[in-house]
């Protein structure tokens, strides 16, 4: 567990452990990245193959780049939530305490970023394996 390098600041704990209403949303960020990636892949391939707006080869390359970007974003979210989970003091013991809830939200977000990363990889496979619009 890493220790902060600065002296305690006023309200530091309070802010860290306060309601965290945002962190209930935060557990959905990684799946939202997956969903956004999925919609982009589906929409852009339709524009390329059905509307015929751009060539499919370039589209595939562009979408693979988007997949990499999505994976980086999920990786970053996953790392942050891993830290939130792993650095929470005594994470197993006190589910009823603020720390327990803080760690739980980190753990859930971390697991969701793993599943989202797998999802992005799966959805990228057709881009790599299928060459054209047929």
């Amino acid at each position: 567990m890493t220790r902060p390098t600065h002296p305690p600041r006023p309200d530091e704990d309070r802010r860290e452990f306060s309601e965290e209403a945002a962190s209930l949303w935060r557990i959905t960020f990684a799946p939202v990245v997956w969903a956004g990636h999925f919609v982009l892949c589906y929409g852009i391939v339709s524009l390329a193959c059905i509307r015929g707006l751009m060539p499919i080869a370039a589209t595939r390359a562009g979408l693979v780049a988007i997949s990499v970007a999505a994976l980086v974003a999920i990786g970053w979210l996953g790392w942050r939530s891993f830290r939130q989970w792993d650095t929470a003091p005594d994470r197993a013991a006190n589910v009823g305490e603020t720390e327990g809830r803080h760690a739980f939200l980190g753990h859930a977000a971390f697991l969701l970023s793993i599943i989202s990363a797998i999802g992005v990889v799966f959805v990228t496979l057709p881009l790599l394996l299928i060459g054209d619009c047929r």
Binding site: A21, A35, Y42, A108, F122
Partner: protein, 855 residues
């Protein structure tokens, strides 16, 4: 202008969290007795014919569940007729037309009248008990939803008695369904849209319940897993049902007014319906599956006598499944000729969803292995569920592969697969849940012997019926044929399936007999017959209607196991809200994450108005089926009037006292507005669903543009740009006026606030007129382009109209002092509606005005 701090609404005051010393202090028995008497009086269920005005979650939940069960049995009888017809080749028992009605209604009823409502029923019944709450935050909304469901269900199912039932298959594909003569398709569209209203009402109720009505101390990481599933499923309903509602809207416009949304001759495309239907239809499968598996998640720890293993893993799997299930819809459309890369995306997502689904099953298995599991009757059903669902899941993995799917599409293999997932994922866990929760629901036990008999009959019958269908399908037998020739090898599997179906029916007969047989002579049951650890087993035997005697302070996942003396302190009235001084119904509202008590909210009681509102709402949906538009409009107006009366008389009234004692030294405010209040959350959630429906319409516009080389067609008439701009400006001004009125009212400038609202009504009305003017010259029946512009305009006008009604409601509220500078929840809720409305307005303006120029 910033909002003045609201001095009239005090902050919560007093010690929190309670100390052990406070909790161990005894309650004076005389005081407790007097409190109990007042509570009992406040939560009394109406007697005699007034019983139907009850809104308590236990009553509404029981009606809901029983009605859904009856609809299920009726749909099951349809299945038996189908199996009778298919028992032998070249059978002439049932005509082709009747057969089409039977399979359409069997599927539609099982999905819309049983599976989804059953989730709502069970959640309404159980969620407050899991959370130690008195009731859900909006009991009348639950009751309204129930009456809508009952009316709509009877209407849709009854049509088969008049030989007028829908007959184009449960997914109503155009052009078959759009061209179908007779009212069948309209009955499906309007009747089920009406029931979808009930589903969304339940979703709102349950999400707010799980987020805001937990007992003090029950943080998100402590709440029962069922509540997590409710959150996920509620969220899914908000994103899955609205696309179907949008699809129904377009479909009905085509049926009624011949606007060609799905007619290729005039630029339409039947594929749009398939997309909208399956964007709903696939998540729907998980909307059915997740809550049922959630029931299993409540049974498994009790059976294993230990806490669930991998709580956060199960949360992961619920949330993950919820998301991934939206990436599967095209796997119902693999044979429609989409580009193979696109098929690949959906195939990949369909395989990915197996991971979270598998994780939750493994978490159950590990819990059972790690504990001391007993094969109790509920567990027997759960075990059957796991076995059958796993088999359905495996064929699902096969069907998710596009090349295999090309072969098996529309064959009996699919029929076998979907019944394995739905029986394993829904029927078995739900029946297990009924055996498990029956002592809680009815304060009686079901028979162990009959239960085991029913299980083996249904389990055996199920496999005898559906296992051979895999083979029949692989041997080429298509779905939905009413007769088949002999000599293809289909005779024997069909005969076996038909025999099996009657074994299932026998099992259900035993189960239903057990549920409904009189149990008057049964001795009083123990309070916690299964030794469960969650709060519902603190229920009162014999029954009390108050939910809980006092609302406990909960810090563990299995409070009955892990918090000694909890139940005895709850019973003594040691915890929160032990009293009903004014003999009104109240419950505690807590914060979203950590469940700190924030305020006490008034909960509505028995009323006729919900029934009246449901009847007129039903009229508004049902009468257009017969093209009786004038009575339908009248009925719609009366429904709105009834709902306004209901809101005006019973919601967000200024309280008599700004704060009151909640017990344990805590004083809480009795009123909240804005994001603190449950009503604001309900509006937020409803509007999220509404925005999804609107997004589906906009998707339709761009879908046409993508698939058609000439959309908009050359030389097409566009919406009048000037009037369109005026419409957007008018509604923009209406939005600003609403927001201004809220701030003026908070600043105690009542007159100015009322003037702002009146001005807002005027400019919004001008905006509506301008919008109608903008599309007036377009002829929607000629081509899909003017039709979709008209559809967007209709949506715009309807929503703006509701916005005006809300402005008027607030204006009257200020005038008659229902809304005061301090008690202004209505204004906050209406402003929130207007935020969503202005978004709709701007997007509509952009799509109608700008897109044709840009594209």
């Amino acid at each position: 202008m910033t909002d003045r701090a609201n001095d009239a609404i005090p902050e919560p005051a007093g010690p929190y969290p309670p100390t052990e010393a406070m909790l161990s202090e005894p309650v004076d028995p005389d005081v407790a007795e007097a409190q109990a008497r007042r509570l009992r009086k406040a939560w009394e269920t109406p007697k005699g014919f007034r019983y139907i005005t009850a809104v308590n979650n236990t009553e509404v939940g029981r009606w809901y569940a029983s009605t859904a069960l009856v609809f299920m049995l009726l749909a099951g009888i349809m299945a038996l007729l189908i199996r009778l017809q298919l028992a032998v080749p070249e059978n002439d028992l049932i005509s082709a037309d009747r057969f089409n009605q039977l399979f359409t209604m069997h599927g539609s009823a099982m999905m819309f009248l049983f599976a989804v409502p059953m989730f709502e029923a069970i959640s309404i019944l159980l969620l407050p008990a899991f959370l130690g709450a008195r009731d859900l935050p909006f009991p009348r909304l639950s009751a309204y939803g129930y009456w809508c469901f009952l009316i709509g269900g009877i209407f849709v199912l009854g049509s088969i008695l008049f030989d007028a039932a829908p007959r184009a298959g449960w997914f109503m594909y155009p052009p078959l369904a759009t061209e179908d003569e007779g009212p069948g398709s309209d009955i499906w569209l309007l009747g089920l849209s009406f029931i979808e209203v009930a589903s969304i009402a339940a979703a709102v109720e349950l999400i707010v319940g799980a987020l805001k009505c937990r007992p003090p101390g029950m943080r998100v990481n402590v709440m029962p897993l069922y509540a997590w599933y409710v959150l996920v499923v509620g969220g899914m309903i908000l994103f899955a049902f609205p696309p179907l509602i949008a699809g129904d809207f377009l479909f009905e416009l085509q049926r009624s007014f011949d606007w060609p949304f799905f007619d290729p001759d005039r630029g339409g495309d039947p594929m749009l319906w398939q997309h909208l239907f399956w964007i709903f239809g696939h998540p729907e499968v998980y909307i059915i599956f997740l809550p049922s598996i959630a029931v299993a998640a409540m049974i498994v720890p009790t059976v294993a006598r230990r806490p669930i293993v991998g709580y956060s893993w199960i949360v992961l799997s619920a949330v993950g499944t919820g998301f991934l299930s939206f990436g599967l819809w095209v796997h119902h459309m693999f044979t429609t000729g989409l580009p193979s890369i696109s098929l690949g995306f959906f195939s990949a997502a369909s395989e990915a969803v197996v991971i979270p689904t598998g994780i939750q099953l493994f978490a159950f298995l590990v819990t059972l292995l790690a504990g001391k599991a007993r094969m109790t009757l509920p567990m027997l059903w759960v075990a059957g569920a796991l076995a059958i669902f796993t088999m359905g899941g495996l064929t699902g993995v096969m069907l998710a592969l596009a090349p295999f799917n090309f072969q098996a599409h529309d064959s009996y293999f699919v029929v076998a697969h979907l019944h394995y997932t739905l029986f394993g994922g829904m029927i078995f866990p739900i029946i297990g849940g009924i055996y498990y929760f029956f002592p809680f629901i009815q304060k009686k036990m079901l028979s162990e012997r009959l239960g085991r008999g029913a299980f083996w009959l249904i389990f055996t019958g199920f496999n005898v019926t559906f296992l051979p269908m895999h083979l029949a399908g692989l041997w080429g037998m298509p779905r939905r044929i009413f007769v088949y020739p002999t000599g293809y090898g289909w005779d024997l599997p069909n005969l076996i399936s038909s025999c099996g179906a009657f074994v299932i029916a026998a099992g259900f007969a035993v189960f239903v007999f057990d549920v409904f047989r009189p149990k008057r002579n049964q001795p009083q049951i123990p309070r916690n017959p299964w030794d469960g650890g969650t709060l519902e087993w603190s229920h009162d035997v014999p029954e009390e209607n108050w939910g809980v005697r006092s609302i406990p302070y909960v810090t563990t996942r299995y409070p009955l196991w892990q918090q000694p003396k909890l139940v005895e302190r709850m019973d003594a009235g040691r915890f929160y809200l032990p009293d009903a001084e004014e003999q009104t119904r109240e419950t505690l509202v807590t914060s979203v994450i950590d469940a700190r008590p924030t305020h006490i909210t008034r909960v509505t009681g028995p009323a006729w108005i919900t029934i009246v509102a449901a009847i007129f709402t039903g009229g508004a949906f049902i009468l257009p089926t017969f093209h009786w538009y004038a009575p339908a409009i009248a009925s719609g107006v009366l429904a709105i009037a009834a709902i306004i009366y209901w809101l005006w008389t019973a919601t967000a009234r200024p309280p008599a006292r700004p704060a009151k004692h909640a017990g344990l030294g805590l004083t809480l405010p009795t009123y909240a507005s804005g994001p603190d209040s449950v009503g604001w959350w309900a509006v937020w959630i409803t509007m999220l669903g509404d925005a999804t429906a609107f997004a589906s319409l906009v998707f339709g516009f761009f879908f046409y543009w993508t698939v058609q080389p000439d959309f908009p067609p050359d030389g097409a008439l566009h919406a009048n740009a000037g009037l369109l701009a005026l419409a957007v400006a008018g509604l923009g001004a209406g939005w600003a006026a609403t927001l201004g009125a809220r701030k003026l009212n908070r600043a105690a400038r009542r007159g100015a606030a009322m003037a702002a609202l009146a001005a807002g009504i005027a400019v919004s009305a001008i905006g509506i007129a301008a919008m109608l003017g903008a599309v007036w010259a377009l002829e929607p029946a000629t081509h899909v382009y003017p039709a979709i512009l008209w559809a967007l305009a209709v949506w715009f006008v309807a929503h703006s109209g509701v916005g005006i009604i809300m402005q008027g409601y607030c204006l009257a509220g200020i005038l008659f002092r229902k809304v005061t500078p301090d008690y202004d929840a209505d204004l906050w809720n209406v402003s929130l509606y207007w935020h969503f409305l202005i978004l709709t307005v701007v997007v509509t303006g952009a799509v109608m005005g700008l897109a044709p120029g840009v594209l």
